[in-house]
């Protein structure tokens, strides 16, 4: 174990330099759409504070670390010009290096049906998907899409782009679930697929 502090590690990564400029005004939090629409516990200001106060365990499990979509709505509003999404990405990177897995339900590939067309690789905004030749049961060593779960933000673009229904977010955001949702909106009288 080296002797660098958490703050030093974050500051060493690109965009993390101005971490300690934060004077806790709360502009970022009140600006944030993730906080507003999805997760009330989401708070970038507090994550920055956790980093500065060396509270690693809390920072790694804090929803803020994993839910930032890097929309950068907070950056132009920050009076101290801290690139907050870069700081969060830095924390996420350090967490991943320490073996922490994202709590999000990330994209999953059906290796049996994937044809490695590369459409999902092209559309992924987070560069989380790559084509790799791996050994797949019953198919041998073939190229298939592979998702790097620490980079995936579970936006679902890959699932929408895939022609063979081979990639997507499982559970509540699978194709079937979404279609059922749409049906329930169109036919409110309880009609289903």
């Amino acid at each position: 174990m080296n002797n660098t502090t958490f703050a030093e590690e974050v500051k060493a990564l690109p965009g993390g330099e101005s971490l300690e400029m934060c004077y806790s005004c709360g502009t970022c939090t009140s600006q944030c759409m993730v906080q507003l629409k999805q997760e009330p516990e989401y708070n970038p200001r507090r994550l920055l504070r956790l980093v500065m106060m060396e509270m690693r365990a809390e920072a790694y499990t804090n929803p803020t670390t994993w839910l930032c979509s890097a929309c950068d709505l907070c950056y132009p509003a920050c009076p101290q010009q801290i690139h907050i999404s870069s700081v969060i990405t830095a924390v996420k990177q350090i967490a991943s290096q320490n073996g922490i897995k994202t709590p999000l339900a990330t994209s999953v590939v059906n290796q049996q049906t994937c044809v490695a067309c590369g459409l999902c690789v092209e559309v992924c905004p987070y560069d989380a998907i790559s084509l790799q030749v791996i050994k797949v049961p019953y198919r041998g060593a073939v190229p298939v899409a592979v998702v790097e779960s620490s980079l995936c933000m579970a936006c679902g673009l890959c699932g929408a782009a895939c022609r063979s229904n081979s990639i997507g977010i499982p559970e509540e955001y699978s194709d079937l679930d979404v279609i059922e949702d749409i049906w329930s909106w169109l036919r409110p009288e309880g009609a289903s697929l």
């Binding site: 005004c25 709360g26 502009t27 939090t29 009140s30 600006q31 009330p40 708070n43």
Partner: protein, 629 residues
């Protein structure tokens, strides 16, 4: 103000612009443009009949453009002197005012601007500050939502002499607002606009909130803040009083204001840090406390007065702690917010102090200056032989050198502050600086490098910054190499190329050339003169293939003791990394080059005897027996 105008020894000149300031302490010649008011001061009695008949209406700047004024106007109701002015840009030349004025015949459209020159002993600059316009901060919707106004606009609305006779109403529908919010730090403490704190806005917003609460106890007032700063006597007690009156203080900088388009009510969204959650509140009206910024023409005035500006644009004082209201130019003083944002008590204190500083000038027959002024040896100045030069004049930050081709340059001693820039720049060594003569400094260099010079690091420090930095490094016990030998001059502008060459000729291991950061220079632009020369030296030594790191240029402030220690340790590391014989070989290789550049050194008056004398001291110092005696 009325008292000041009545006092027979005070002459008030309004609507007058300072165009030029020449001369020096006690003997300024100031050129003023007395702008034409088109109303004769000796005839106007301020009755206002002219304004009543004027058909033109334009926004009134004093009322924050919330009310109209006529093309013939007085700036405000308490104007001193009470004389009307015609705004010729707005006037339609109907001459109804002339008719209304009648027999008084005070209005005269043939008047012209008058240029006058005055003899002035001392100048007090009290030009105040300006307000940041929050329009570029789109998130707050100023100028887009009618009920978002600035705190100054609110003050006009709340003033009994203001456009609404003191009734605070909403601009959108004229109703009296019941739920109000103030937002602090709008444009200040914000690196996108003004990084500094505006000093008085916390107290200012509390004052406004208390005032509104006193007028109507039922009104609901919130103040959004990042930090509340109430540092002076009685301020914290006032803050307490505001809290006990039921004013809400919400820690959290609002990210956004949105508006209900039907009611024009406003929604402020912010994190409430104490609650740890994002809250949204509805208000009838929102007031923004804008940042205090320098006057828009402060840059122009700084070149007229020849005073420097600090980062941020405020006028720079001589010393932030010890001479906070003196300008770097003798005889010019600052009062109030032109030197930096400050509140009323501080401005009044500074105003009184500046007046007494100025009266010291007026009541003296003579004026003491620093004795370290420059002196020209007229027999050495090439201008006296008719050759063109003028380098000294160009390097002087104070315009203290009178140069005319054909006669020797002259130093106006009262204007000279003793940076020594001209002395070092003069290519003919025709100028010297008292107490920092070439002979004195060369003698110091010789003595410092008397023993094992190749192991020594000679550090040139400027009096105000890097010397202070070295001092701080010492008092803070920052460890740095004991091979450093320091030498002080007043400014990096004085660090002559000859000194550096001489140091290397004598075999110095390394030389540090250090001074203030450009914005901190106590001689306005002295550092710039020094920095230019340092750059030239760096190129020369590079061409000589001197090992990089043996000559180093660093700008170190008096607060950067750690940097001073760090730089010297790095230089020591450079020397340690070189084998001794290699270093000595390099010194020997470069010695003839240095000698070539030092050809004229012996001809400078005083240098020969000083060096002979120094030689005696060095010999005595090196021989232990004599040293013991």
């Amino acid at each position: 103000m009325v008292d000041a105008a009545r006092q027979p020894l005070i002459e008030v000149k309004t609507y007058t612009e300072v165009e030029k300031v020449e001369g020096f302490v006690g003997n300024f010649k100031v050129t003023l443009r007395e702008k034409s008011k088109y109303v004769r001061a000796d005839r106007c009695n301020g009755c206002g009949d002219c304004a009543k008949v004027c058909p033109v209406e334009i926004p009134n700047y004093f009322e924050m453009n919330l009310a109209p004024r006529k093309a013939i106007y007085i700036p405000m109701s308490q104007s001193v002197p009470l004389i009307y002015t015609v705004d010729l840009d707005a006037c339609i030349h109907c001459y109804k005012c002339v008719e209304a004025c009648g027999a008084l015949q005070a209005i005269d459209f043939s008047m012209q601007d008058k240029i006058v020159e005055e003899d002035i002993g001392a100048i007090v600059v009290a030009t105040g500050f300006s307000h940041f316009d929050p329009t570029p901060m789109e998130e707050y919707g100023y100028n887009r939502y009618p009920n978002v106004i600035t705190a100054i606009e609110m003050e006009r609305l709340n003033n009994s002499a203001g456009p609404t006779s003191g009734r605070l109403i909403r601009p959108s529908d004229g109703k009296v607002p019941q739920k109000l919010a103030f937002i602090n730090c709008v444009g200040s403490r914000d690196k996108r606009f003004n990084p500094g704190c505006s000093n008085f806005c916390c107290m200012y917003s509390i004052k406004n909130a208390v005032l509104l609460k006193q007028m109507n106890p039922n009104v609901d007032i919130s103040i959004y803040y990042i930090d509340i700063r109430t540092p002076s006597k009685g301020y914290e007690e006032f803050y307490d009083r505001a809290r006990s009156m039921g004013i809400h203080f919400i820690q959290g900088r609002p990210a956004m204001i949105t508006e209900d388009p039907q009611t024009h009510n406003l929604f402020i969204q912010s994190e409430d840090i104490a609650l740890g959650r994002v809250v949204e509140h509805e208000y009838d009206m929102v007031m923004l406390n804008q940042a205090a910024i320098p006057q828009p023409d402060q840059e122009k005035m700084s070149s007229v007065l020849n005073v420097a500006r600090s980062p941020g644009g405020w006028y720079m004082e001589y010393h932030p702690k010890l001479r906070p209201l003196d300008s770097p130019t003798d005889g010019i003083f600052f009062a109030g917010a032109c030197q930096g944002p400050k509140d009323i008590p501080a401005s009044v204190a500074q105003g009184s102090a500046a007046a007494s500083r100025a009266s010291r000038v007026l009541h003296s027959d003579s004026w003491q200056i620093e004795p370290t002024v420059a002196v020209v040896w007229s027999d050495r100045c090439v201008s006296a032989q008719g050759k063109p030069c003028g380098i000294c004049e160009r390097s002087c930050p104070y315009g203290a050198i009178d140069y005319q081709q054909g006669r020797a340059a002259e130093v106006i001693t009262a204007k000279c502050h003793g940076c020594g820039g001209c002395v070092a720049e003069c290519p003919h060594d025709a100028i010297t600086q008292l107490h920092y003569t070439d002979a004195q400094i060369l003698a110091q260099i010789r003595t410092l490098l008397a023993e094992e010079p190749h192991k020594k690091i000679l550090a040139f420090r400027c009096h105000w910054c890097s010397y202070g930095g070295a001092d701080l490094a010492g008092t803070s016990h920052f460890e740095y190499t004991s091979n450093e030998r320091g030498l002080k001059v007043m400014c990096s502008a004085r660090m002559d190329t000859d000194f550096i060459y001489e140091a290397y000729r004598l075999g110095a291991g390394a030389v540090l050339y250090s001074g203030c950061h450009p914005q901190d220079c106590h001689y306005i632009t002295g550092q710039v003169v020094g920095a230019k020369r340092a750059k030239r030296l760096e190129t020369i030594f590079e061409r000589m293939k001197m090992t990089p790191g043996r000559f180093r240029v660093e700008w170190i402030s008096a607060a950067e003791g750690d940097k001073y220690a760090h730089v010297l340790n790095e230089m020591q590391a450079t020397l340690d990394a070189m084998p001794e014989e290699e270093l000595l070989a390099e010194i020997d290789r470069l010695r003839p080059e240095m000698e070539k550049r030092l050809g004229r050194l012996g001809t400078i008056p005083g240098v020969g005897p000083a060096l002979d004398y120094t030689q005696g001291i060095i010999e005595a110092m090196l021989s232990k027996e004599v040293a013991v005696k």
